[in-house]
């Protein structure tokens, strides 16, 4: 029945469809060959501005559906759209690249968490929360990975540098914005009470 329907499509509509097919094909090729996530504004260039954002998003949606059954998925991250392997494929991909990327130490991860959740922060802020000195090596590790950057200096003596996370950090963790970071555990209410009490005094 549905077959019959598609066969009796008016010619103009069929042309429209085949046209859209081409456009999705172009979109797909651009996304598959891009080294970086592509924002919608960039994708528009593919069609010389003949597509508006809404049309592009519809096409991205359609494209995403087409890849539903594949080992690759189309995702939106902080700096745009990209194709990436589905997590469940990693067990296979690992066989080709046995050397695993290094896991970060607790010190690095805690520093990263503080910068991510409390940004912008100085090294002093991080040290106060962690209760230990933060080595330059830790910050360097995160900077080299492209996950943190200096975004300014706090206007206090010494003008310490302020660190924040980058869009690369969000991209690499599959996030679109900082709002999508795992939510923090609420601090125990009573402390807040106590601290509030203290402030009153």
């Amino acid at each position: 029945m549905s077959d019959q329907f598609s066969l009796t499509l008016p010619a103009s509509q069929a042309a429209l469809l085949s046209n859209q097919l081409d456009e999705i094909r172009i979109l797909e090729t651009a996304l598959l060959t891009s080294q970086e996530p592509l924002p919608v504004a960039e994708l528009k260039k593919l069609f010389d501005g003949a597509m508006n954002s809404k049309q592009l998003l519809t096409m991205l949606d359609e494209l995403s559906n087409q890849w539903q059954e594949k080992g690759i998925e189309l995702v939106e991250v902080a700096s745009g759209w990209r194709f990436q392997s589905r997590p469940e494929m990693h067990v296979y991909l690992e066989k080709l690249n046995p050397q695993k990327p290094p896991r970060y130490s607790r010190a690095v991860l805690e520093t990263l968490a503080i910068i991510a959740y409390r940004q912008p922060v100085t090294r002093g802020d991080i040290e106060e929360i962690r209760g230990v000195t933060v080595s330059s090596a830790i910050l360097k590790t995160l900077e080299t990975r492209g996950w943190i950057e200096v975004v300014g200096q706090r206007n206090v003596p010494g003008r310490p540098q302020l660190y924040a996370t980058t869009s690369n950090f969000l991209n690499d963790l599959n996030l679109q914005s900082l709002d999508q970071l795992p939510s923090l555990d609420e601090l125990i209410n009573q402390t807040e009470h106590t601290i509030t009490d203290e402030k009153i005094i």
Binding site: L31, L32, T33, Q35, I72, R82, F83, Q84, S85, R86, P87, M89, H90, L93, K100, P101, R103, Y104, R106, A107, L109, E110, L112, A113, I114, A116, Y117, E128, I129, R130, G131, V132, T133, N171, D172, L173, N174, L175, L181, P182, L184, D185, L187, I188, Q190, T191, T194, I195, D197, E198, I201
Partner: protein
């Protein structure tokens, strides 16, 4: 709580006589060889305090300072006795704990305005904030990570088609030559001679022919259909090539065939 303990206990703290030591012993006895590793397990005094509080089921909002201080100091003392290089932060924390403890022991002044702040408040705030960040770190690490848990697609853009050939136009070439001439003129050591292009181009052409054919008859170097100008240019080219010792012109006998070959 379990989550935190398991974090510490997932990796044995040390191995003693080949047996993995998963827990810090309750009686605070730490085998000397395990001490350093034990210290490494913690990210600092806050981490150690948090561990002690959670491990002994102490109420973080009502910390029994005496017990906690005693335990903490026992560790620090053990470390010091073993002359481990102890991070200053650990000693600083000892001082802080003792200070809090002693402030709690002091009788409250009679004219306390309403309520004096609990000396433990600041410590508790720090402990809770640190614990919060510690958990946040674990959760961040659980997020799928590029290259660790998934890969970016990277299809090659066919370079063969993309490669753009360098374009050179006549102006570029003219400009380059002009520059050279200027330099040559300014530098009297160079004496650049100019000859008609057609002679030069004939020279290349003759060399090309000789390279392919080896020895060629003099007459074969001239195209029958060539215009008179071309014939002259070609003849000049042969003379020039001979002068520059690029070719040899041979004639076995008078009025015999003249052969030209490259040297």
């Amino acid at each position: 709580m379990d989550e935190l303990n398991s974090l510490v206990e997932a990796h044995p703290i040390a191995k003693i006589c080949g047996q993995p030591l998963h827990e810090v012993p309750h009686d605070l006895y730490i085998p000397p060889e395990a001490l350093e590793i034990f210290l490494d397990t913690f990210e600092g005094p806050l981490d150690l305090l948090l561990y002690l509080i959670r491990k002994h089921n102490l109420d973080i909002l009502d910390i029994p300072m005496a017990e906690l201080t005693q335990q903490y100091m026992a560790y620090v003392e053990a470390m010091r006795a073993d002359q481990l290089e102890l991070a200053a932060e650990y000693l600083l924390m000892t001082a802080l704990l003792i200070e809090i403890k002693s402030r709690m022991l002091l009788p409250k002044p009679i004219h306390t305005p309403e309520e004096e702040a609990d000396p433990r408040v600041e410590l508790v705030r720090r402990l809770l904030e640190y614990e919060q960040m510690k958990k946040a770190a674990l959760r961040l690490d659980e997020l799928p990570q590029l290259e660790r848990d998934f890969m970016q697609v990277q299809v090659l853009i066919n370079q063969r088609v993309i490669q753009q050939l360098v374009q050179v136009n006549l102006d570029d070439l003219q400009q380059a030559w002009l520059t050279l001439l200027q330099r040559a003129k300014l530098n009297t050591r160079h004496h650049v001679q100019f000859e008609a292009i057609s002679v030069r181009s004939c020279m290349s052409e003759i060399l090309r022919k000789l390279k392919q054919a080896g020895t060629v008859s003099f007459y074969d170097l001239f195209s029958p259909s060539a215009a008179i100008g071309e014939v002259i240019a070609n003849f000049l080219a042969i003379l020039e090539l001979a002068k520059e010792l690029l070719i040899e012109v041979e004639q076995a006998e008078s009025f015999g065939t003249i052969y030209v070959r490259s040297i």
